[in-house]
């Protein structure tokens, strides 16, 4: 390795401390030194006799030294102090002075690109518009400053809006798009920016790289930030919200921003032209810096803007603020919308499947067979129109709503008629446990419906997991409650009809609402606001939640009563009575207790009356008690 014979060290108060060690270097390099302001006032005293400057100064003085390149020819090296972390990272230096002196005295300086913005030097970053949380690490020196940056960045989230940008490259290519902001940055190792911009970027390729940030929603922007943080790497796919342009010269105009902010310090009015400066700067840097910036000059422009809204779409996206959730054009998800439209249409297959699944479910319910009932759940085609209905509500697509509602109504009608018909044909058959399990819905059922709705919407959105819809169908079980409701109608038992239909209605509302919300989170909402639809779903939800809440409360009360009775024992006329099993059934305004008692001695009517009295004293509800007695021998 060759080392310089003679160099000048320019220092400030912080850098003076390095002089002694620098002068005692092991490479026989002669060190001339000069205080920074003296040097900057009279560079001619030292240049061009000395060709290599070692800067042991702060950021502002480094910039002034760089500007001397306009008039003098020299190479530049750095002796940063430990607080200059950005410089250390950027140039692959360290906090070890010996290491930095070694690099600074080497005779291997290479040229790097300098970018100007309307003639002003871009030191690290130039930003137009709003790009929250990007490039934080370059400025914060303390955790407190970092937190402050985060706070300010988060506040910007809700101020983001897309504006029109007109961008022109050196080859005359003109691009019009909508974005929340654009920025140009100089390579900064290990910063958020550098992680994001590992897409074939170098400080030696003679190109300006312009990043266009165009998120359709706050959620999408957060997803982009998340992706940047967890999976940086060369060759990664450019995130949805991002466009990249590389050219020797880029001119930018914006519809609402008036200026470009340079390094968070100064600003220049728009329009601006970023270009590679003719005067190259030769610097000494650590080996990793040269590894990462190895690419040589290229005149080929790069334009990656597929993810950005085109000129035709742009007007729809120019909102006052970016919405929290994404919205999507039909073109972007054509296949999904076509499929959902098809699902909303009533056809013969649907009618046949609906009838068959209802008949199967009804027979399965009468025969108390879980397996048959599950088979009917899988066969039932009701989930598809409900998911279509949810999407219709989200996008305020009247046709989809109308068709899917019609299909659901036809399905409900057929199921009720078919199951009521079977019940009329088999009047002697009683209610089974499978039926009883579906006549007391509560808030837990709403929970099942909500998660099933989410799963249904999610499965529908991604082809590769569509097979999961079968599981969803089993979880939420739409047809069996309808069959039970129909049986209730057929048997003239309105309690059964009401309970089972409430369960079905719970599923319908829960799935619709959850699917609507899931589609919205996944970014399928329309540009047209669909508040009215959401209001309808919310009203339905409230209408369902109230009866369910009371039902849920009853279940909790029954649970407490069961627990209380299970922990109770009775000394009835000196006979010890063990409550072995208890089951609580709420019927209208009475509570029915089914008890299994264990006793040693026979209980006579008098004992049983006393037992009943003791139990009744402990609860407010009127109790009806049925007891089976078993004896301890």
């Amino acid at each position: 390795m060759e080392y310089k014979k003679r160099v000048i060290c320019v220092w400030d108060d912080n850098g003076r401390q390095y002089l002694e060690k620098l002068k005692a270097n092991a490479f026989d390099t002669e060190i001339v030194d000069c205080e920074a302001s003296l040097f900057l006032n009279h560079p001619e005293k030292f240049l061009p006799d000395i060709e290599h400057i070692i800067a042991a100064v702060g950021r502002d003085l480094i910039l002034q030294l760089v500007r001397l390149r306009d008039h003098w020819d020299f190479t530049l090296a750095f002796l940063p102090n430990s607080s200059q972390r950005t410089l250390i990272k950027m140039m692959d230096l360290s906090t070890d002075l010996d290491h930095n002196i070694d690099i600074a005295l080497r005779d291997d300086a290479k040229a790097i690109d300098l970018i100007s913005c309307n003639g002003a030097l871009v030191e690290l970053k130039a930003t137009i518009g709003t790009i929250p949380l990007i490039g934080l690490s370059g400025h914060a020196h303390t955790p407190w400053e970092f937190l402050k940056d985060i706070r300010l960045g988060l506040a910007q989230f809700f101020k983001m809006h897309l504006q029109q940008f007109e961008i022109e490259t050196a080859n005359g290519k003109k691009i019009k798009t909508a974005a929340s902001g654009v920025f140009v940055f100089e390579h900064g190792r290990q910063s958020t920016l550098s992680r994001m911009m590992q897409y074939d970027h170098s400080r030696r390729d003679n190109q300006v790289m312009l990043i266009i940030v165009s998120p359709f929603s706050v959620v999408e922007y957060m997803r982009f930030l998340f992706a940047v943080i967890i999976s940086p790497g060369k060759g990664e796919k450019i995130p949805d919200a991002i466009g990249v342009i590389k050219s020797r010269e880029i001119t930018v105009r914006a519809s609402s921003s008036k200026e470009v902010v340079l390094d968070e310090r100064s600003s220049v009015g728009l329009p601006v032209t970023f270009k590679i400066m003719d005067q190259k700067l030769k610097v000494n840097a650590g080996p990793k810096f040269w590894e990462e910036n190895s690419k040589q000059s290229s005149d080929k422009e790069t334009i990656k803007i597929d993810n950005l809204p085109d000129e035709k779409e742009m007007k729809r996206y120019l909102h006052s603020h970016i919405p929290f959730f994404s919205y999507a054009s039909e073109d972007r998800f054509k296949e999904l919308f076509l499929s959902l439209r098809k699902d909303a249409e009533t056809n013969m297959h649907y009618i046949v499947l609906m009838l068959l699944s209802t008949l199967l479910a009804t027979i399965g319910l009468f025969s108390n067979s879980s397996a048959v009932v599950i088979g009917a759940m899988l066969l039932a085609p009701l989930m598809a129109p409900i998911v279509s209905f949810a999407m219709g509500m989200l996008r305020a697509d009247e046709r989809m709503i109308e068709y899917s509602l019609m299909k659901i109504t036809v399905g409900i009608g057929l199921a009720l008629l078919a199951s009521a018909g079977v019940a009329l044909l088999l009047p002697e058959l009683a209610l089974t446990d499978e039926m009883r399990a579906r006549i007391n819905p509560n808030l837990l059922d709403m929970g099942i419906a909500v998660f099933s709705g989410m799963a249904a919407a999610y499965s529908k959105s991604f082809k590769e997991i569509a097979q999961s819809l079968a599981g969803v169908a089993i979880a939420v079980a739409l047809v069996p409650p309808l069959s039970v409701a129909g049986i209730g109608l057929g048997q003239g038992n309105m309690d059964v009809f009401y309970g089972a239909f409430l369960l079905f209605f719970t599923n319908l509302v829960g799935i619709s609402l959850a699917a609507t919300l899931t589609f919205q989170i996944l970014g399928f909402s329309s540009v047209v606001k669909s508040r009215k639809s959401m209001l309808i779903v919310s009203a339905l939800l409230i209408a369902t939640v109230f009866p369910l809440y009371f039902s849920y409360r009853k279940i909790i009360e029954s649970y407490h009563l069961e627990k209380f009775i299970q922990q109770s024992r009775f000394l009835v006329n000196d006979k010890y009575v063990i409550i072995k099993e208890v089951s609580v059934v709420d019927r209208d305004d009475v509570t029915l207790l089914d008890l299994t008692l264990s006793v040693r001695e026979a209980l006579d009517r008098h004992d049983l009356e006393m037992l009943k009295q003791r139990l009744q004293e402990q609860v407010e509800e009127k109790l009806f008690i049925r007891a089976e007695v078993e004896y301890i021998l």
Partner: protein
Amino acid sequence: MTDIYKLIVLVFMLVLTGCESNSPIAPSGKVIKIGVLGPLSGESASIGRKALEGLQAAQAIHPLSAGGERIELIVRDDESSAQKAGELFHELVTVEKVDAVVLSSTSDSVLNMMEVINKQRIPVIVAIASHESITTGSPYISRVCMNNIQQSRVAAYFIHDELLLEKVAIFYNAKTAYSSSLADSFKEEYEKIGGELTAKVTSDLSLMALRAALLGLKRDGVEALYVSVKGARSVDLLRLRKELDWDVVIIGSDGMLGSLKEHGLKDNGSVEGLFVMENYADDSVATKEEVRLKHYAKRNKVELNTHSLLAYESHLLLLAALEECSEECSSDELNTLLRDHKVFTGLNDKISVIAGEVQRPIFINHVHKGKMFMHLKVY
């Protein structure tokens, strides 16, 4: 403010006023003197002191009867002596002219006082003494704690029919009426339902002899030990059980856990898994009365135990009887109302008194981390 808002505020205030059901009782100027007699010093001092704290809490929370009479407590210490207790009882009635007496004495003391009580013919509420003969032996005594027959019967059924354990021994103190009565009635009940008692071990053995006796029980395969002993000997029992690494199930009589703590057993591990028969459980559903008492205890930094709660309920029983008593409320009338009181709300449950004997649920508690959790509740 518009008229409609004024109306809303008015209705709201009326509703709030209506919610406050405890309208204050106006003092009538009359005083009801209640004698409080119990061991505040001597061997059983901890019982008497805790009971007194419960009564003082009750008096602070309910200072007046429903008729506005001020409840005045006249406290006497029987020094854990049955003889002294009899003398002081006499003094309370003849000198202090009390209207009723609350006794926090142990069964032995109360049994010794029976003659005096019957002679003085004044209503007595027994808070803690659980010997079965107390209420049958005097028409002037009412009791708020469960009696020995009730709890030993429940213990016998619990061990035999719920835990399904057949090899059972008793650990008891032959010198106290309380302990030997519990042991006898447990034996009787247990054998009545088909169980066979393996052994009865008395607590007056030396530590070495006790160790040998317990080792013998372990070798015999005894599965459960019914313990009616309180005090230092019950602590020894648990220490020996640990030392012998004997996983016998222990079912203790009322007040056992409190007594263990009072006698220095701070190690929760030794009492872990114990079953104890009790009048209360730490996790039972709190009534309004219990909430008030807990607030009082917190405010006054008082640590209450089972004895305090029983004494508190003695005061509640007295208030309930006074509420039904006529304006003159003679001693006989008060006594009748105390001994046959249909229902009053205690700290955990509704309680009634029939022929002086309390009808209240018995808790079979399971000890975990030094606290009593309800395992079963016997009505």
